[in-house]
Amino acid sequence: MKKFPWSRLYLAVVFVMLYTPIFYLIFYSFNDGGTMNRFTGFTWDNYTAVFEDSRLLIIVLNTFMLAFLSALIATAIGTFGAMAIYYTKQRSTRNALLSLNNILLVSPDVIIGASFLIFFTMIGGLFRSFSLGFTSVLLSHIAFSIPIVVLMVLPKLREMNDSMVDAARDLGANNFQVVKNIILPFLSPGIIAGYFMAFTYSLDDFAVTFFVTGNGFSTLSVEIYSRARQGISLEINALSTLVFLFSMILVVGYYFISQENVSRRVRKNRQKREVTDLQ
């Protein structure tokens, strides 16, 4: 006899909890009534309103471009940063680097925002041409994404068998080849995960952006914050539905890519095992 799957039930409850607010938003994006209280009738009006609101569309575009760019740059810097930490021989230096790396990760958003505001204001005092806006937001997003990438890549480096590097060296590989052909391919799951995390953090960030954004530039979070403080507008619901669908497509795509990698790896391992069995 099978036991009642309590664990499945628990998970189902958690998933329902996680998704209820999101579907609630989506549901009311089709509401004719203009509030999130009572569903009065089906309409596409809120969606047409979004597509006619060019200011909002530009903000969405900015937000995604910002996330894409900052995650890309942060991944590059963070991956090499992780390698720098890992290959630091002295234990005390390595620990110091790690602690420094973690500072931004555990710092409250407000502190990061406030300190970056002081920092950028100072830079603005030194260089006249620099002012708060896209550049300052991009720099801050890169800055707080780097430690996340490092944290995703570092465990992979620890997992890596160092004798692979030694073997590559014995076979005559130079530094560049070792990094390109041995280390980076091995780290790629961590790097991809790091990129996605950085992307997520950047999309989700409100507090830091709010501090360093200045007047001209706005991201989705900042825009929603200012609109939500004025009350409910179903245009936001429609927009969030679209953003949600987009994320969904991305995630499913990412899943299939990683799935393919897994099966390829499994197949390769199986082949390897068969070969060793034969010997």
Partner: protein, 268 residues
């Protein structure tokens, strides 16, 4: 390797100096200036002399503690059961997916759900309890904060459980431990690092959720984050804001020390 390491590590080192060390130093530096730009200790004096700021700090820490605790209680079983599932990668992605929905959107959804005419109140009316004021209370703040932090707790615990060597569990079974014993003596201690990073990832942000206190808490809950935002962006008193920031940094260091990885063995 040394030479090449220095080349590829340069951007990272630049980042460390410019965006980690310099801003922290600047916020400490700024905290010693009053509103007129004069060097003084007035901010610290105000902070420690007035009961207002100290109560606020205690309150803020208490809320963050509650949020962390509730999140942990929900997350641990979730992460544990997740590792047992067949398509766990997919399910984990479904846990991560809500974090892709903007924080503000989720808070905004709760404005609708908890509102005085919202669905929770319709339900309460339906059951005969009658509508309650839910939005703009401490309760709504706790619920929404927990909801938002949940994935950030589940993920590190899940990772810790996933990385565990399954042969350790088999070994524990072979040595005669039952399910509970195995969990208590093998699985839980080995997942503790995940729990610790989860606590780090939830506690500190909870101290600074100023947008939730404004949108959901109705300014009733004032956290350290709210106070800093107020001083920096509204009253423009950067000195006082930085002072509270320094307090927050100290709180952060304490949490890090408490949840940091223990040093392994003696140095050899």
């Amino acid at each position: 390797m040394t030479k090449i390491r220095r080349i590829y590590a340069i951007p990272y080192m630049f980042w460390l100096v410019l965006f980690v060390i310099a801003p922290v130093l600047m916020i400490v530096y700024q905290s010693f200036f009053d509103m007129n730009g004069q060097f003084s200790l007035i901010n610290y004096q105000t902070y420690f002399a007035s009961g207002k700021y100290l109560t606020m700090t205690l309150n803020s820490v208490w809320y963050a503690f509650l949020i962390t605790l509730i999140t942990l209680l929900i997350s641990y079983p979730t992460a544990y059961f997740l590792t047992k599932l067949k398509h766990k990668d997919l399910w984990l992605l479904l846990i991560i997916l809500p974090t892709w929905v903007n924080l503000l959107l989720k808070a905004y959804a709760f404005i609708g759900i908890f509102g005085i005419n919202g669905s929770v109140n319709s339900f309460l009316t339906f059951t005969g309890i009658g509508p309650q004021q839910i939005l703009f209370t401490d309760f709504s703040f706790l619920v929404v904060a927990t909801y938002i932090e949940l994935p950030f707790m589940i993920m590190p615990i899940y990772n810790a459980l996933e990385e565990m060597n399954p042969s350790l569990i088999s070994a524990s079974r072979d040595l005669g431990a039952n399910n509970f014993e195995t969990f208590r003596r093998v699985i839980f201690p080995l997942s503790l690092n995940g729990v610790k990073s989860g606590v780090q990832a939830v506690f500190i942000p909870s101290l600074s959720l100023f947008m939730l206190t404004r949108l959901i808490g109705g300014n009733r809950v004032i956290t350290l984050g709210t106070a800093i935002e107020q001083h920096f962006l509204v009253t423009q008193n950067w000195g006082m804001g930085s002072t509270i920031g320094v307090v927050l940094i100290i709180a952060m260091v304490v949490v890090m020390l408490l949840t940091g990885e223990k040093k392994k063995g003696g140095r050899k």
